[in-house]
Amino acid sequence: MALYIVEADCISCGDCEPVCPTQSITEGAIVFKIDKRTCTECEGDFDVPQCVKVCPIDNCILPLEA
C-alpha cells in the first residue's frame, strides 16, 4: 500500500515533501518520488494522504497498483 507520483505531471514544486509524516518523499533526478517501502498513505497519521491534499496538480499522486 503506497502512493506514487506521476512523472509526466509533477512540476517539482516540492509542496508534498515536508507534509509527509513518514518522510517517504524525496526529490529524485527528474521529479519528486515516493518511497513505496515506507509510504503508508498516511494511515494512522491522517484521514487523507497529505501529499495528495497539498499537490496543486490533479491526479498527479495516485495509489500504486498492488
Partner: protein, 234 residues
C-alpha cells in the same frame, strides 16, 4: 533648469522607447534624437522623425537594429496610445510550430513581463518552440463592461486556458491556485525581464532537457522523453 529641458511626458516616452531597443540606454537614444531634430526637442518635432531618419541618425548607430523594434520605439516616442505601441500579431494555425507550447506574459508596456495577473494592461500570447516564437494574440485582464462574473480571476484565467504557462511579475495566492486548477502553470519572475528574454530562456529549456510536464505539453512522446530522463539520470 536649462531652457532646453524636456517635458516630463517626452522624457518618459524617451525612457520607454530606449527600453524597447536592444542594448540602448536613454543617453544613447537622446544622442540619436538630438541628431534627428534641432534643439529644443519637442514632442511635435519628435513625432515627425521617419524610420529612415532614425536609422541613419548619429552615424547610423541604429542601422543594424530590427526595423520592427525601431518602429515600435518611434511609435512610443510619438504617441503612447495603447493601439499605437502594441506590436502586430501573427496568424497561427495549430501545427505550424511543431513541439511548441502556448504561453501568456502579463505586461504593462508590451516590452517587459511586468504586469500583475489581475490588473496588467495586456497578456501577450506567444506560441513558442525551441527555434521560433510567434506573437499570436494580445488579450486583456479586463472584465468586459456589463459582464457579471462569479470570480474575476477565474474569468481571467479562463481567457488564457489554451496557454500552458503564464508569466507574471506578481500574482496573488488564491489567484495562482485558480490558474493552476485550470491546468496553467503560473510563473512569477524574480525580477522584471523583457518578453524577449523570457522567451529565449524558455526556448533554452525546451531545446535542452525539458522537465516531464513541459515535454508532455510540447507533445513529446513518453518513449522519446525516456531518453531525456536517461541523460538526466546519467
Amino acid at each position: 533648469m536649462s531652457q532646453n529641458a524636456l517635458s516630463r511626458e517626452l522624457a518618459l516616452r524617451i525612457a520607454l522607447a530606449a527600453r524597447a531597443l536592444p542594448n540602448t540606454d536613454t543617453k544613447q537614444l537622446l544622442a540619436v534624437l538630438s541628431d534627428c531634430v534641432d534643439a529644443p526637442m519637442t514632442e511635435s518635432k519628435i513625432a515627425t522623425i521617419s524610420l529612415t531618419d532614425f536609422q541613419v541618425a548619429d552615424g547610423g548607430v541604429f542601422a543594424q537594429v530590427d526595423s520592427h523594434l525601431l518602429q515600435q520605439a518611434l511609435n512610443i516616442l510619438s504617441n503612447t496610445a495603447p493601439d499605437k505601441i502594441l506590436p502586430s500579431t501573427q496568424a497561427y494555425q495549430n501545427g505550424d510550430l511543431p513541439n511548441s507550447v502556448r504561453i501568456a506574459c502579463a505586461s504593462d508596456d508590451a516590452i517587459h513581463v511586468n504586469g500583475h495577473f489581475g490588473n496588467c494592461a495586456w497578456f501577450m500570447v506567444y506560441q513558442v518552440n525551441a527555434d521560433a516564437a510567434l506573437l499570436i494574440d494580445i488579450r486583456t485582464a479586463e472584465i468586459p463592461e456589463g459582464l457579471v462574473v462569479d470570480d474575476k480571476n477565474v474569468f481571467r484565467a479562463e481567457q488564457l486556458q489554451d496557454c500552458k504557462v503564464v508569466y507574471v511579475a506578481s500574482v496573488g495566492g488564491p489567484a495562482a491556485a485558480k490558474i493552476v486548477r485550470l491546468g496553467i502553470h503560473p510563473m512569477r519572475l524574480e525580477a522584471v525581464a523583457s518578453l524577449a528574454d523570457v522567451i529565449v530562456q524558455l526556448q533554452t529549456v525546451m531545446a535542452g532537457s525539458p522537465p516531464p510536464w513541459l515535454a508532455k505539453a510540447m507533445g513529446i512522446e513518453a518513449s522519446e522523453r525516456f531518453k531525456f530522463e536517461q541523460e538526466a539520470v546519467g
